[in-house]
């Protein structure tokens, strides 16, 4: 990923902060709007140095569409997995087979790895314990085949297929 210049990063953090302010103070009035815009202008001058991976090209339409399409998919996955966990909790003899398995990821950027780990953790039944380079350590609630290939195929590849549309 090529380096974003400082101006792009500054625009990025200014837009994110302003949108956040607009959402927080939903019934608008003029004074609040002006104060919020000034505050996000000043803060973005200082914080632009920290957002190394973002810039103007984070706002390309393909990425935004990918992100918006990803949200319903992850919500549906959460509901399905929650129903399975509910079945386990309600059954009287607790049919669990826990294990900590290792899986490989092919995502390169830190932001992509963060999204992958959060998605794995949000679906019940799998919990990311650690990420070390390309290795992801996952605690599974119920898994039959604990080999690395199977874990990669059933857990990480499923999310990467969708994440690849908008992160590297």
């Amino acid at each position: 990923m090529e380096k974003n210049n400082w101006f792009g990063r500054w625009i990025y953090s200014f837009i994110i902060l302003s949108v956040g302010w607009l959402l927080f103070t939903f019934p608008y009035n003029q004074e609040e709007l002006i104060v919020g815009l000034i505050a996000s202008f000043v803060i973005s001058l200082f914080t632009a140095n920290f957002f190394k991976e973002f810039g103007l090209k984070s706002f390309s339409p393909m990425r935004i569409i990918g992100l918006i399409l990803y949200i319903p998919y992850i919500l549906w996955e959460i509901v399905i997995a929650n129903l399975e966990v509910a079945k386990i909790v309600l059954s009287p003899n607790l049919p669990i087979k826990p294990a900590i398995v290792k899986a490989k990821t092919t995502l390169k950027s830190d932001f992509g790895k963060m999204l992958l780990a959060n998605s794995i953790t949000l679906t019940p039944g799998t919990l990311t314990l650690d990420i070390d380079g390309d290795d992801v350590y996952i605690h599974c609630l119920k898994i039959e085949d604990t080999s690395e290939e199977n874990a990669t195929k059933t857990i990480t590849a499923k999310f990467e297929k969708h994440l690849r549309r908008f992160v590297v």
Binding site: V89, I96, P98, A99, I100, L129, Y137, H139, L141
Partner: protein, 107 residues
């Protein structure tokens, strides 16, 4: 609108109770994290969105709160799991395999 809200809030309340039940029944820390925190996250998410549907003027604010919970819950549960694993809290007897490397250092 109201009926969608009532259904969503009922689903949320049921999942919160299931999460609390999982917290009591599961044998070790990692399984408790699995069943409880995430079932409760779905429960709170669905309750808050349901309130937004029943009171449409509040919809944006409630969606904001719900997405904040959805973003932060995995981070805190991941941190708790990592801390417990580093502390060497034992896994339950049913565990098949442990490939995470910190375990050997603790022995």
């Amino acid at each position: 609108m109201e009926i969608i809200g009532i259904i969503l809030i009922s689903i949320g309340v049921i999942f919160s109770t299931l999460g609390a039940l999982g917290l009591i029944r599961m044998p070790d820390i990692y399984n408790r994290l699995q069943t409880s925190t995430k079932a409760t996250t779905l429960g709170a998410f669905s309750t808050i969105i349901g309130v937004g549907f029943m009171h449409p003027a509040w919809l944006i604010k409630t969606i904001l709160i719900a997405f904040f919970i959805l973003m932060t819950a995995p981070i805190s549960s991941h941190n708790l799991g990592k801390a417990a694993h580093k502390a060497g809290i034992p896994l339950t007897d049913k565990t098949q395999i442990d490939e995470c490397p910190q375990k050997e250092e603790n022995k």
